[in-house]
C-alpha cells in the first residue's frame, strides 16, 4: 500500500495558491535558475526561495531529515568541486590565483596541492547558491501538496487520465519505498543483522546489503503488480474518468502564473543578451593581483 508525504493544511504562501499554478511557477523558477551563473542574479532567486521557505509554515523539525540529506549532499559536492577544481571549466578560461598551499609531504611522489583562484571560489559559491535555491523550492512541494490532489493536478495540467493517475502513484512511490526500507531494516536487525558493521571490499559490502536490497526491491515489484490488479478490479480505464476533486483558478493563481511566465521570459531575454553569465567580483580579482 502506498503512503503519502507528510502533508497537512497550513496557512502559508505556497498553500494559498492553486497547486497547478504553483507547479507552473515552480517550473518557471527552475528554468530561470538554470539559465544563470551570475551570483547577483542567483542571490535574487535564492531570496525568493527563502521567502517561500520561511512562509511555508513547515517546522524545521518536520523537514530536518530532508534538509540534512540534501544540504549535506550539496555542501559536500560543492566543497569537492572546490578542492579538485573540477567543473566550471566551461564557464571560465582564465584563472587568477589568490593563494596556493602545498602539503609538507608527498604521497608516492605526488605532493597534494590546493590552488585557490578567484574563479574557482566563485564557481563553488555560485554552484552552492544555485543548487540550494532549487533544493529549497523542491523540498517544500511534498509537504505542501494535498495528496488527494496529486491526480487532478496533473490532469489539470493537461495530462490524460491514465498518465495523471500514474503520476499520482509515482508521487507516493518514494515515501512508500522509504517506509518499506525501514520495515525491512527493522526485520533484519531483529535477525542480528547490523548495517553498521559491514566489512570487506566494495563487492563484499554490496553483497552484504542483499538482506536489505532484495526484500525492498521484490516488495516494490510485487506491490506494483498488486496496484495494477486493484485498479483493474475497480474498472480503471473503461472510459473517461470523473475526478472527484476539483480545482479552480482564482485571480491570484493567474497572477502567479503570469509572474512566473514573465520572470522566465525576462530571464531568457537577459541570457540571450549575454547577461547573467559567470561573474567574478572585482575585489577577488584585486586580491588575486595583490597575491
Amino acid at each position: 500500500m502506498l503512503v503519502t508525504w507528510r502533508y497537512k493544511p497550513r496557512k502559508s504562501l505556497i498553500q494559498s495558491f492553486d497547486p497547478r499554478a504553483w507547479i507552473i511557477f515552480f517550473a518557471c523558477y527552475i528554468a530561470c535558475t538554470v539559465l544563470f551563473w551570475d551570483l547577483r542574479y542567483l542571490l535574487v532567486l535564492f531570496a525568493m526561495a527563502m521567502v517561500v521557505v520561511f512562509t511555508s509554515g513547515i517546522r524545521f523539525s518536520e523537514m530536518r531529515r530532508a534538509w540534512l540529506f540534501i544540504g549535506g549532499f550539496v555542501v559536500f559536492f560543492s566543497f569537492l568541486t572546490f578542492l579538485t577544481g573540477r567543473g566550471g571549466i566551461e564557464l571560465y578560461t582564465e584563472e587568477h590565483l589568490i593563494t596556493r598551499w602545498e602539503a609538507g609531504f608527498t604521497l608516492l611522489g605526488w605532493r597534494p596541492t590546493l590552488t585557490v583562484t578567484a574563479e574557482k571560489t566563485m564557481y563553488a559559491v555560485s554552484m552552492l547558491v544555485r543548487v540550494f535555491s532549487l533544493a529549497s523550492m523542491t523540498i517544500l512541494i511534498p509537504y505542501s501538496l494535498n495528496p488527494a490532489h496529486y491526480g487532478i493536478i496533473f490532469k489539470g495540467l493537461g495530462l490524460p487520465d491514465k498518465v495523471a493517475y500514474g503520476m499520482d502513484l509515482t508521487m507516493r512511490f518514494i515515501p512508500s519505498f522509504g517506509r518499506d526500507f525501514m520495515l525491512t531494516r527493522d526485520a533484519q536487525r531483529a535477525r542480528g543483522y547490523e548495517l553498521e558493521k559491514l566489512s570487506g571490499g566494495l563487492v563484499a559490502q554490496v553483497r552484504k546489503l542483499a538482506p536489505l536490497i532484495v526484500p525492498v526491491t521484490i516488495h516494490a515489484i510485487v506491490s506494483s503488480e498488486d496496484i495494477i490488479d486493484a485498479m483493474d478490479l475497480r474498472a480503471f480505464g473503461v472510459g473517461p474518468r470523473t475526478w472527484l476533486e476539483e480545482l479552480h483558478y482564482r485571480t491570484r493563481d493567474r497572477l502567479l502564473i503570469g509572474f512566473g511566465v514573465v520572470m522566465l521570459l525576462t530571464s531568457i531575454a537577459l541570457s540571450l543578451f549575454g547577461m547573467g553569465k559567470f561573474w567574478v567580483p572585482q575585489f577577488l580579482l584585486q586580491l588575486a593581483a595583490a597575491g
Partner: protein, 541 residues
C-alpha cells in the same frame, strides 16, 4: 423471461503456468438466487484460484491453462476486459493493504465510481452511503495509511460496495479484523445478501461465517468441490482438522477419534517467575503524533506463554516492538535481563529475544530456504555445525521439509510466513515474540506449528499477538488485554477471558470454544481445545 442466474460455472479447470497439476478441476456451480455462499477449505484446496477465475484475475493476471465457462448474470466473461467484469462482481481481497489505492478515505471509496465516469454528486452520495452503511463515516477525511488493519478492510469493502456490484466476492475478508469488526462486517454482508446481492465468501474460519447463516456451503479439497449443500449437513462431510468449525461440532466429530496427544508447553522450563523482560511506566508516541502507549507496566517471566489480545489499533504491535528495542520508550524503561534497551542494540537483544514480524515479505531475501534460515544464527555467530541442526529443526517445526533448496521468494504467502517464523526459531532465542503468527495461514497448518513451537525445548517464554481468541484459550497460560495503549487486564486465561463484558469492550467476542470451556470449567479447572475437551468430559463421566 426469467433472469439468468447470478453465477454459473461449467466444467472449470485451471492449471498455473508454473505447476504441473491442476489447482481446480472440473468445477460446476450454479447460484440461482441472491444468497451467501461460503467456500471453505484448507490452503491449497483451490478456493482462492476459483475466486480469481470468477473475478477475472485468472487468466488476465495469473497465466496458465484455463478451460470451462463462467457466466455472471448470464454473460460469458471469457472475452471481457477485467474492468468490465469488475462492474459485475466486486472483489475484496484478503489483505486490504494490497487493495487500497487512494491516499484519503473519501478518494479511495470514490476510485471505482470515478472510473465509471459518474457525476460528482452521484459519487459523493454513493461514497457517503457506503461509509454510513459500514459505520465508518467518521473516517471520511482521514489518510488511509494511518488507519488500523480493521479500518482499512472496511474502507476497502466500502470502495467495492459503492460500485453496487450484483455479486460480491470476498477472499478471506476476516483475516485482519478483530473479532468485533469481523462480526460487524459479516452482519453488513448478511444485510447485502438479504437485499438481493449474491455473496461468495472464501474463508476457512467457518465458525465465524456460520454465525451469519450462509444459505449454502461449498467445501473444497484438492481442487474439487467435496460438499455442496446447507450448513447443517456440513459436519458429516468435512474434516474438523482442516477448517475451523464451531467447538460443539468438533466435539461431536472428535469423540469418534482417539484423543489428541496432550500439549507439552515450554518443556524446558520448570518453575518460573524470574522476570526476563520488564516494562516500567513505558510511555511512547511516534514523532509528532499523539501518545500511543500510556504508562505500561509489565513483566514477562520465565515460563510465561502470553497471548496479547485487543482491538485493531490498540497499540499491541507498538508494545511488543519495545521488547526488542526497535522502539525505545519516550519515558520509562524497558529492561531485558535487567539491562535497559536504550543501552542495547537490536542485534544484541536478538540473541535473547526472537521477534517474528507480521509480514514475511519484508525480510525474505536469500536464494534458498536453508540460507534464509541460516542468516540469523550466522549473524549471531553460532558455530556452523550448530546452525545446521538449528535450521533442520526449524524446518521440521513449520512443516517445510523438502523445501530447503527452494527460493523463499517463489513460495506461497502461507509458506513464506512459515519460513519467516522458522528463520527466527533457528536463532534459538530464549524468548519468542510473534506478531499475528496465524494470519494468512490455514487452520490445520497453524494449529500444527503452534503445537510444535510451544513444545520446542529451549524457549523460556513465548508471547504472541493474536485476534484469534481460541489461540489464547488453547495455548496461553497468561492473557494480556490491551486497549487504547493500556494493559486493561493481565492474568490467567480463565480469569481474564471469563469477564465477557470486558472482552466486549476490547472488541473481542466469546467464541464457541471459550463458551464451552467456561461452561465446563468448574469440572475441568483448565481450558482445553475442543478435540481434547470432548475426551476429558467423556472420561470424567
Amino acid at each position: 423471461m426469467a433472469l439468468p442466474p447470478p453465477v454459473r460455472i461449467e466444467n472449470l479447470s485451471f492449471r498455473y503456468r508454473s505447476r504441473t497439476d491442476f489447482a481446480i478441476h472440473n468445477i460446476n456451480l450454479t447460484v440461482d438466487e441472491p444468497q451467501i455462499v461460503l467456500i471453505a477449505g484448507a490452503s491449497g484446496c483451490g478456493k482462492t484460484t476459483l475466486a480469481r477465475c470468477i473475478n477475472g484475475l485468472i487468466p488476465r493476471s495469473y497465466k496458465g491453462e484455463l478451460s470451462g465457462k463462467i457466466y455472471l448474470q448470464g454473460q460469458d466473461i471469457a472475452g471481457l476486459p477485467l474492468a468490465r467484469i469488475s462492474q459485475l462482481v466486486g472483489t475484496v481481497l484478503q489483505d486490504p493493504e494490497r487493495q487500497i489505492l487512494g491516499s484519503i478515505v473519501m478518494n479511495e471509496v470514490a476510485f471505482g465510481l470515478e472510473n465509471l465516469g459518474l457525476s460528482r454528486d452521484e459519487i459523493r452520495r454513493r461514497v457517503d452511503e457506503a461509509l454510513e452503511r459500514l459505520k465508518i463515516a467518521h473516517l471520511r477525511d482521514r489518510q488511509t495509511h494511518y488507519l488500523s488493519g480493521g479500518e482499512k478492510q472496511k474502507v476497502a469493502l466500502a470502495g467495492v460496495l459503492a460500485m453496487k456490484p450484483s455479486i460480491l466476492l470476498l477472499d478471506e475478508p476476516l483475516a485482519s479484523l478483530d473479532p468485533a469488526s469481523a462480526q460487524e462486517a459479516l452482519e453488513v454482508i448478511r444485510g447485502l445478501a438479504d437485499e438481493g446481492m449474491t455473496v461468495l465468501m472464501v474463508e476457512h474460519r467457518v465458525e465465524d461465517v456460520l454465525r451469519v447463516r450462509p444459505e449454502r456451503v461449498l467445501f473444497m479439497k484438492e481442487g474439487e468441490i467435496q460438499y455442496d449443500g446447507d450448513p447443517q449437513h456440513l459436519v458429516e462431510r468435512v474434516d474438523y482438522r482442516e477448517v475451523k468449525l464451531p467447538a460443539p461440532m468438533i466435539m461431536e466429530l472428535a469423540i469418534k477419534d482417539p484423543p489428541p496427544p496432550p500439549l507439552n508447553i515450554l518443556p524446558g522450563v520448570n518453575g518460573g517467575s524470574v522476570p526476563l523482560v520488564e516494562f516500567k511506566d513505558v510511555v511512547f508516541g511516534y514523532e509528532s503524533g499523539p501518545e500511543v502507549l500510556h504508562g505500561i507496566n509489565l513483566q514477562i517471566r520465565r515460563g510465561d506463554v502470553i497471548a496479547v489480545l485487543g482491538p485493531n489499533g490498540a497499540g499491541k504491535t507498538t508494545l511488543v516492538k519495545h521488547a526488542i528495542g526497535l522502539l525505545k520508550p519516550k519515558r520509562g524503561q524497558v529492561l531485558i535481563n535487567g539491562r535497559d534497551t536504550h543501552q542495547l542494540s537490536v542485534a544484541e537483544i536478538a540473541s535473547t529475544l526472537g521477534y517474528v514480524f507480521q509480514s514475511p515479505s519484508h525480510m525474505l531475501f536469500a536464494p534458498t530456504v536453508y540460507d534464509e534460515l541460516a542468516f540469523g544464527p550466522t549473524n549471531l555467530k553460532h558455530p556452523e555445525e550448530e546452525i545446521r541442526k538449528e535450521v533442520s529443526q526449524a524446518i521440521e517445526i513449520v512443516n517445510l521439509q523438502g523445501y530447503e533448496k527452494t527460493p523463499p521468494l517463489s513460495m506461497s504467502f502461507g509458506q513464506q510466513k512459515r519460513v519467516s517464523i522458522a528463520a527466527i526459531l533457528a536463532m534459538r532465542s530464549r524468548i519468542l515474540v510473534m506478531d499475528e503468527p496465524t494470519a494468512g495461514q490455514d487452520y490445520k497448518n497453524y494449529m500444527n506449528f503452534m503445537n510444535s513451537i510451544l513444545g520446542m525445548p529451549g524457549f523460556e517464554a513465548i508471547l504472541f499477538i493474536t485476534h484469534d481468541l481460541d489461540m489464547a484459550v488453547i495455548y496461553a497460560n497468561r492473557v494480556l488485554l490491551v486497549n487504547d495503549g493500556q494493559v486493561v487486564a493481565d492474568g490467567k486465561p480463565a480469569e481474564v477471558l471469563s469477564d465477557l463484558e470486558r472482552l466486549r469492550q476490547c472488541r473481542l467476542l466469546p467464541t464457541s470454544l471459550l463458551e464451552t470451556n467456561l461452561q465446563y470449567y468448574p469440572r475441568t479447572q483448565q481450558f482445553f481445545r475442543a478435540e481434547a475437551l470432548t475426551h476429558v468430559l467423556a472420561s470424567g463421566n
